[in-house]
């Protein structure tokens, strides 16, 4: 019997199996941010166990509220900063160099095929785009990860999604994942790895694959995963070029992290997405999904482009192509948050920031802020936001506010009219 990629990664990392169905895996990386890590740090200190298993395998960033908005968030940043210094954690990203965790850590080359990664953040599933097993965990799992470099998991069941056909103009990875969540529901992949394969995934950039894997958790998935290929190697090449004689050699090595053809899946879904239309959520759950066509004309108050789902350079390019030379509607506010300083700099060089600002967008520093209603674009009671983020929960972007999730293209088009709008309405909408 063949194995899935997740099973192969587990086999290679198993340190114990204390009970049937419970595996303790060795971790290749533990990612930390300032919201969920400080309580782990203070608890370790209180227990007299203020140690880290390997400072080179721990990466930390202040990203959720940055620069600090008040004394409490300043204190959270300080705890993470002091701890990183105390333990010699070199890969710590502070103001000036910080960005949204699930954008900056891959960008720095910290994610590799075959890795096991945890972070105290549910969207850690993003990193599976590189052929890794990456799972969001709570603070206690994070704490043990920091201390011992291990984490417990149930044996990973896998659901395979075979995405074939060709996406139409104006349809993107975000539309594909919203469609999938709409099909299987917010509980559809609980305790399962969501494995994305097929020609559509093969053709996707790493950015698009990250968008796809990012929202696995919205269907309850433990990790998203895509097979590593030459696209993965090209993305990682600046960081791995000293490890391999050639890109082909790297590809050969990474190719062991794919599922066998006779691997056993929990379920298999095959979708031909050739006719998929741009998608958008309604209501307060990410599986409440309709086509943009069905919701066209719904009024919004704010547009938010950014986050670990859709704040990468590809997303900014797509949105800017829609906005170029145009102004957002008087009735709306536009907020752009490039996900990392590097993305911000590329956007500046390419003239994208000019396009956004000329259109009337406010451009913030890289931060998670508005996505979870913490800072930099919180909604007022009764307001509606067209957002490229990943959650439309009640109150998510501000108490009493409502969120429609959509692609950057749809968000950009929506900002021009003030109502939910298909990007195909505007020239250069691809």
């Amino acid at each position: 019997m063949g194995k899935t990629i997740a099973e192969k990664i587990f086999d290679a990392h198993q340190v114990d199996k204390p009970f049937e169905d419970t595996t303790i895996v060795k971790l290749d990386a533990v990612f930390c941010h300032e919201i969920t890590t400080p309580i782990a740090i203070t608890d370790l200190m209180a227990r007299g166990m203020d140690r880290v298993f390997d400072p080179s395998k721990i990466k930390a960033v202040i990203d959720h509220v940055t620069p600090a908005k008040d004394s409490k968030t300043a204190e959270q940043g300080k705890i993470l900063r002091d701890w990183s210094r105390r333990h010699g954690i070199k890969d710590f990203f502070d103001i000036g160099n910080n960005g949204v965790c699930h954008a900056i850590f891959p960008e720095k080359g910290f994610v590799r095929p075959g890795y096991t990664i945890i972070m105290g953040d549910s969207h850690t599933c993003t990193h599976g785009a590189f052929g890794a097993f990456a799972a969001g965990v709570g603070t206690t799992d994070l704490e043990v990860g920091i201390l011992k470099g291990v984490c417990s998991f149930k044996a990973p069941k896998t659901i395979k999604f075979e995405l074939t056909g060709e996406l139409q103009e104006g349809v993107y990875a975000k539309d594909a994942i919203l469609f999938i969540i709409g099909q299987i529901g917010v509980n559809g992949a609980t305790n399962c790895v969501m494995e994305f394969t097929g020609t559509i995934v093969d053709d996707m950039s790493m950015e698009s694959r990250m968008t796809l894997c990012n929202m696995a958790i919205e269907a309850g998935g433990t990790s998203g995963v895509c097979y590593p290929d030459m696209t993965t190697v090209e993305y990682l090449w600046p960081y791995i070029k000293n490890d391999f004689a050639s890109k082909d050699a790297a590809l050969k090595e990474y190719s062991k992290w794919v599922s066998d053809s006779d691997a056993k899946y929990d379920r298999v879904f095959k979708y031909d997405l050739s006719k998929l239309e741009p998608m958008v959520t309604f209501g307060y759950k990410p599986d409440q999904v309709k086509t943009v066509r069905e919701l066209t004309g719904e009024k919004v108050d704010q547009i938010y482009i950014g986050s670990c789902t859709n704040g990468r350079i590809e997303d900014l390019r797509i949105a800017a192509a829609v906005l170029k030379g145009k102004k957002i509607a008087h009735s709306v506010r536009g907020v752009l948050s490039p996900a990392t300083p590097e993305i911000y700099k590329i956007a500046l060089k390419e003239g994208l920031i000019d396009i956004f600002m000329d259109a009337g967008y406010c451009v913030t520093n890289p931060t998670c802020g508005a996505c979870l209603g913490m800072s930099n674009g919180v909604l007022a009671e009764g307001e509606v936001c067209a957002s490229t983020t990943n959650r439309n929960f009640n109150g998510r972007m501000g108490k009493g506010g409502m969120v429609h999730l959509m692609s950057p293209a749809t968000a950009a088009a929506t900002s021009l009219t003030g109502t939910i709008t298909n990007s195909s309405l505007f020239k250069g909408g691809k």
């Binding site: 419970t22 969001g136 043990v144 417990s152 509980n187 609980t190 979870l372 209603g373 929960f393 009640n394």
Partner: protein, 174 residues
Amino acid sequence: MKSFSGKVLFLDRSDINTDEIIPAKYLTEITKMALKPYLLEDLKMNGFNPVTDIAGKKVIITRENFGCGSSREHAPWALEVNDINTVIAVNYARIFRQNMYNCGMLAIDLSKETVDDIFITFSGKDTDCVIDTKQSTIQLKSGATAKTINFKLDGFDKALVESEGWVGYADKNY
């Protein structure tokens, strides 16, 4: 071990997410106790009033996929500082369920039929719940109506509850 018994809070809805259990704006707190007043503040459920409905309750009984969404352990902590150490549901989001056991708390899974039956029999009534982790039984009682239900605690979950959480267990074993 913690106390797992007491009065029941019935939450008759599926997919209650961690943003509803404890909104993100309170994640800037760095003590667990500070979360106490905000439990279930944003719960979207007709007729639910967190201020009056939570007081005195020790056990939550709810439907499916409880704790979906964010990984925040603040959700179990917000329950814990309100003396709620037990949730009973058909199933849970993976991270929330693991967080509960990692804190030495109980997230008990029962079949959909059993949960349906509990709601039909007890929901809306003043109900007491006694949980015996050794015998793996749940006793529900409201006035003259009483029911005893068996549940299953997996080996690892049981070990975590007995070790009062994952840090203690991991420190002993790894």
